[in-house]
């Protein structure tokens, strides 16, 4: 058996099926709203990405030389490739621009348990100013989950503008110290550092209260009470709009939610699936990055881990498939049955075995519920012997359930 590199995975079976279903659901949803498919190169020139990523992310990239001796990194995040593509291929008057992608990405995990290679789905939206962009993107993500009949994830919403506003009253050293504690997810350390601050304008009281500002929309009122100048409008509007769209129960605010301040510039979000302690992924607004590509305006993107998503997706692909035995008839006849079943919304697999019983056995091994005899055109249930075979005229009307 040939080995695969440490930290990488080759996926097949139900898991791979699940990934494909999740990917299709996202692509169908996003492409139906004007998001164009995007297939970035698996390598990026180091010179194109190195300075643009925050150091915490940069240090996780995998460097290598191309066969042409150009220093490169393996694709660690498709966002920069998307921006470069959009800036080079679309004129300003074409905005807003929308891209969606599903791509393997390679980077060292944040913790020792994280894999090095992951399969992500994501989207980027450029040039639509205002909170409508976040509402569009988040609602499309939720729609994609709904299509998969999966429990909806919880969206944890924050805004780096809040931290930026608060840090403006601190010295650079104090700012660094506070942000470091938040990025390390250490509240104990955070409070120790807040106690040593000497800020003005009542910022200390707010910084002290910041970790507690988690929950429903009421935390915005609490925050406003503590610091009336806080930029809370975007996050408020997004929350209200998502509530109106029926996702209110799935939105949770966390005003201390931290994402790289130098990279993100506005509302940010993380998504969590039931039964998972880790974030499935997330995203946010990154206007500053856009200007590095000579573009002005607002940019927003997200990515989610398809592999982990697929573990939660109900996998019913096998029970939905009909095996068609073509061993006893001509190939065009058997393939014709397949075409008819596909027209009825079923999935099919051809079996060309010489013996019908061997074909049926294979269908049972695959956990299929129906087997079609290409010789007679009859559809046989494999899940219950009590169900009599259906003649072509019967199943042709679609009156059988997978």
């Amino acid at each position: 058996m040939s080995r695969i590199p440490q930290g990488c995975r080759t996926l097949g079976g139900d898991w791979a099926e699940g990934i494909n279903r999740c990917r299709e659901s996202f692509f169908t949803t996003f492409s139906s709203r004007g998001y164009m498919s995007f297939l970035p190169s698996g390598l990026q020139l180091m010179e194109s990405v190195w300075e643009k990523y925050p150091s915490s992310f940069r240090n996780r990239l995998v460097a290598l030389n191309s066969p042409h001796a150009e220093p490169c990194v393996l694709m660690g995040d498709p966002t920069l490739a998307a921006l470069a593509y959009m800036s080079a291929h679309h004129a300003p008057h074409e905005r807003p621009l929308r891209l969606c992608y599903a791509q393997k990405v390679y980077r060292k995990g944040e913790s020792s348990e994280d894999p090095f290679e992951t399969y992500q789905v994501g989207a980027e939206l450029l040039g639509w100013n205002g909170h409508g962009a976040e509402v569009e993107m988040l609602s499309l993500i939720m729609e994609s989950f709904e299509k998969l009949s999966m429990p909806l994830p919880t969206i944890v919403l924050g805004d780096v503008q809040i931290l930026k506003h608060l840090c403006s009253a601190l010295s650079p050293e104090e700012e660094k110290s506070i942000l470091e504690a938040l990025s390390n997810l250490s509240y104990g350390e955070y409070y120790r550092r807040v106690e040593h601050l000497s800020p003005q304008n009542g910022t200390a009281a707010f910084l002290e209260a910041l970790p507690r500002l988690k929950g429903g929309p009421e935390v915005l009122e609490k925050a406003r009470g503590l610091c009336p100048e806080l930029p809370l409008e975007d996050i408020r509007e997004i929350t209200m709009a998502l509530k109106e769209l029926g996702y209110g129960k799935n939105v949770r605010l966390d005003l201390s939610l931290f994402r790289e301040i130098g990279y993100y510039s506005g509302p940010v979000f993380d998504m969590y699936l039931s039964g998972e302690g880790r974030s499935l992924g997330g995203g946010g607004r990154y206007d500053g990055l856009l200007s590095q590509y000579g573009m002005m305006g607002q940019a927003l993107g997200f990515n989610l881990d398809l592999e982990r998503m697929a573990r939660h997706a109900r996998n019913s692909s096998n029970s939905e498939t009909v095996m068609i035995w073509g061993g006893g008839t001509s190939s065009p006849q058997a393939l014709g049955y397949a075409r008819e079943l596909i027209r009825l919304g079923k999935r099919t697999e051809m079996s060309w075995h010489e013996h019908a019983e061997a074909s049926r056995e294979l269908a049972r091994i695959r956990r299929y519920r129906w087997w079609l005899d290409g010789k007679t055109g009859q559809l046989h249930s494999l899940s219950s012997e009590k169900i009599p075979p259906l003649a072509r005229e019967e199943w042709y009307k679609g009156e059988f359930s997978c």
């Binding site: 348990e113 944890v156 880790r278």
Partner: protein, 216 residues
């Protein structure tokens, strides 16, 4: 996890010596511990509002990281070694000790002179990641030997020049003819939460944060 309509908090606890410290912390936080004191050999224990998981100390962060447990008590040494992405709710100040480099007196000379004299040291440890990062950050190349226990044996038997391990009173070191050569960091028991639980169940954790803050 839901039981009888009540959302339960799942708490992962380390087995071994540190469990006694963990129980004291739970008492301090008014989390009922009666069931844990009469645990027998059970590894999962439940009462009306808490479920407790008893795991090897080094495995505790993983249960939290993956969302099996909402909360856990884990040593900061273990958190450093596992580098798990978890939220630290507070420092309990229990189980205080130090992560240190220790070795025979004759090795001390190599730590007192220029760092280049440490090149090639053979270091036995239960904490290979911490040790590797510590020496690498100083540009010192060492040979790491990953052991799972009785680390102090390694220098005595010539397997290693020194060790990286936790030191509480220093009596075990002394008994094996070792002295502390350098301290890496202080260690204590920390209350940690999964990222998801910290977002979604904060109202349950907030009193714990406050309790630690007031304790100072």
């Amino acid at each position: 996890m839901v039981q009888g309509g009540i959302l339960m908090l799942t708490v992962a606890l380390p087995t071994g010596r540190v469990l006694e410290d963990a129980l004291e912390v739970l008492d301090f936080l008014h989390i009922p511990t009666e069931i844990l004191k009469n645990r027998g050999r059970k590894l999962i224990l439940e009462d009306t509002s808490y479920r407790f998981i008893l795991a090897k100390p080094m495995d505790v962060p993983l249960y939290v990281n993956r969302g099996i447990a909402d909360l856990a008590l884990a040593g900061s040494d273990v958190l450093l070694e596992r580098k798990s992405s978890v939220v630290e709710i507070g420092d309990t100040r229990k189980g205080q000790c130090r992560l240190a480099i220790a070795g025979p007196r004759e090795v001390a000379k190599r730590f007192e002179s220029h760092e280049s004299s440490m090149t090639g040291l053979r270091i036995a440890t239960k904490y290979p990641r911490v040790a590797e990062e510590y020496f690498r950050s100083r540009g010192i190349q060492v040979e790491l030997l990953h052991l799972h226990g009785s680390i102090e044996l390694a220098p005595r038997l010539g397997l290693a020049d020194c060790i990286v391990d936790i030191v509480q009173t220093g009596s075990t070191l002394k008994a094996n003819g070792l002295v502390i050569l350098e301290e890496i960091c202080p260690v204590s028991l920390r209350l940690v939460a999964s990222r998801k639980s910290a977002h979604l169940r904060w109202e349950l954790f907030a009193p714990f944060v406050e309790a630690f803050r007031q304790k100072g």
